[in-house]
Structure formats: structure tokens, C-alpha cells
Symmetry: C2
Subunit: 197 residues, 2 copies
Amino acid sequence: MSVEAAAPTRPMRADARRNYEAIVRVASEAFAEHGTQTSLDDIASRAGVGPGTLYRHFPNRDCLLEASLVDSRHRLLALGERLLDADDADDALDEWMFALARHAGTWDGLADSIAQSLNNEKSPLGASCGAVITATRKLLERATALGSVTADASARELFIMAGSLAWAADRAARGEGSGTGEDELPRLLALLMRGLR
Amino acid sequence: MSVEAAAPTRPMRADARRNYEAIVRVASEAFAEHGTQTSLDDIASRAGVGPGTLYRHFPNRDCLLEASLVDSRHRLLALGERLLDADDADDALDEWMFALARHAGTWDGLADSIAQSLNNEKSPLGASCGAVITATRKLLERATALGSVTADASARELFIMAGSLAWAADRAARGEGSGTGEDELPRLLALLMRGLR
DNA sequence: ACCTGAACACCGTTCAAGT
DNA sequence: ACCTGAACACCGTTCAAGT
């Protein structure tokens, strides 16, 4: 199917693998702490490697984001599989959209990074979203077949809207009053799903 | 009302005013071309001033964004006044939300800059949003009194959601297929308003 | 009072030199 | 094959020196 030959990827050298994993681990912490725009230089030094090593493994920021998200996306897709077997297709779609928004809201700025990457042919982050959008389409079609979802919206739009809601909930939650901002994602999502039906 | 004494702002020196205006004019072009994260250094040189002059007039990026938006916001608020006199409070709210989203979508990244500034006490951009949120509240209350808007959402949330939709429409429009991405804002907004009712 | 531009700290990215 | 860290270009921000 693919044009490029399947690279006979030999196992990584032990020190290379050690560095790779250290970088991903540190990156996840840094993204969680300072958002997706945190300094790559800083990640490299915190991982105990030179900037060149980071760039050798991850040619750009999107590659590092992608690598740091594989586990989370794997869990997300597994949930999608399970939801396809759920009795209530409506509830399943709700739950999926919620999980999708949570995924996009993992780190500050992630929803933006993902949405930007969607239009970028070169980005591995954007490419990896394909499977997630496909899962969204299946769940959407099941709910549409039930007749409860009437508004026409594509799976790609739902995917973007999930990110948009994560974005909005994050912004709405901060500095609301004196207290800690509450989680508004469920309410905003309910608003959207009401509009779909 | 305000604690700080009203500064007896004397008129600007002619050359200072000339520079101020040149910077704002160039900034608007640059923001339109490269988004709100464009280089301030570049704006300064394009305006024919040193970086120090730009920072003297606009201590940070938000100040420059704010100055570049005053005209647009003035027009927006004028529309808000007119809509308060409209016959149909529902239509008025729709039209307001559309204008709000368009405003937030003026430049790439503006919705994000605005939302970030909302939680930042120091930002003049965030401060200036107060009047817009107040206008949103009045229009929302009018529509709520009519009984058509049932979901409870605060004016602040609607303000953020307008930005969120501008964000989503912008991301959804790009690179959709081969053709030029179409404007999805009206549809996404209709979805939200349906959910509110 | 205002402007200028050198200067500083920082960041992304590359690459020649090492092992 | 992989790593290192110096090096480059760039950007935001400050400030001493000018007018």
C-alpha cells in the first residue's frame, strides 16, 4: 500500500533507546507543567542529553508531542472499540466526545497543536489523528442511524469541536472568581450535544 | 471611582504620535498576515522605529493587540447597542454571537490571546473585554426573559464560546480537501444556539 | 520627553567533531 | 550509529547614550 519501502528497523542501540525514553518521559512532565510550547532545549537538558540528540530522535516539536501521546491515544482508541459494542449508541457518542475532549485537553495548548497539525501533511501528529477521526465517524454513523442525531456534522468537525470545547473549558475555568475554577467541560459538551439532536 | 489619579495626559509630541500610529498601522497588517504571534521586532523595523520605541508605547504584546483592536471593538459595541433595540431578542442574540465570533477571529491566534488575557489582571486586552461581556449579558438576559433560551450559560461563557467557535471554524476550514476551505462558522454557531434553546 | 540601537538572555536548529 | 556541544540566526526586552 505504502510507497516507501518498509524500513527494516533494527533494534535501537541500548544507549539510544535509553535516551529516547528519557526524553519522552521528561517531555510529558514538561508539557504537563508548562504546556505544549515549553522549551525543547530545556527538555533536552532535563533529560541529560544535548539538543542535537533530541532533534535526532524528534526532528520537530510535533514528533515529540506525537511520541508523548501514543499511550493516551492507544487507550482512547480501545475505548472507541468498546463503545462500538455499547447498547445505547447515543450514550456511546456522548462518552466518546467527552473522552476525546479530555484527550485534547491533556496539556495546555495541545488542542491547538493538534488542530494545526491536521492541516500539515508533514506532521506525524496530524497523521495519527486519522484513526481517531475514523473511530469518531463510526460512532457518529451509529448514532445517526438511530435517528436521534439530526444536525449534519462530519466526523472531522466533531473531532475539531471536541478540541474546541477542551480549549474553551480550559479558558473558562481559570480565574473565574476567588475559588478554584470548576470544570465546565461537561456542561459545554452537553450544550453541543443538545445542538446536534 | 478609580484609585489612580486621572493622568493629565498632555497631547503627544508630534513625532511620538506619528510613531505610535505607524506602529499600530503596521501591526494590524502584520497580525493579519502572520497571526498574533508575529515578531514585534519585525513590526518595529517595518514601522521604521527601533524596538525600544515600540516597547515605550506598548510595554507588551497585549497592549499592542489592544491598541490595534479599538476601532473594531468600537464598531462591535455600537452594534450591541443597536441590537438591544431590535424587535426579536432571539435574532439579536444570534447576530451578536456571530459578530462576536467574527471579532475574535479577526487574526489567527486572536481568540487565544483574548482568552488568555481574560485571566490576566495586568492585561489591557483583558480589561477591555469587560464592556463586551456586559453587552453580551444584556442581550442574553433579554433573550432569556423571552423564555426561548433555556440552558443556563453565563455571559462570560458565551463570550468564550464565541472565541472557541472562531477557533474551530478557522481550523476546520483549512486544507479540508483540494478546494478552498469554506466558512463553517455559521453552521457551528447554529449548532451552539440550538443547544442553548 | 522621546528616540535609538547596542546589548543581554534565550530559544530552535544545524553540524563538525568525537566515541 | 549515535552523541555532544559549539555555533548560528532569531526574538523579546532593557537601558545607557543621544537629541
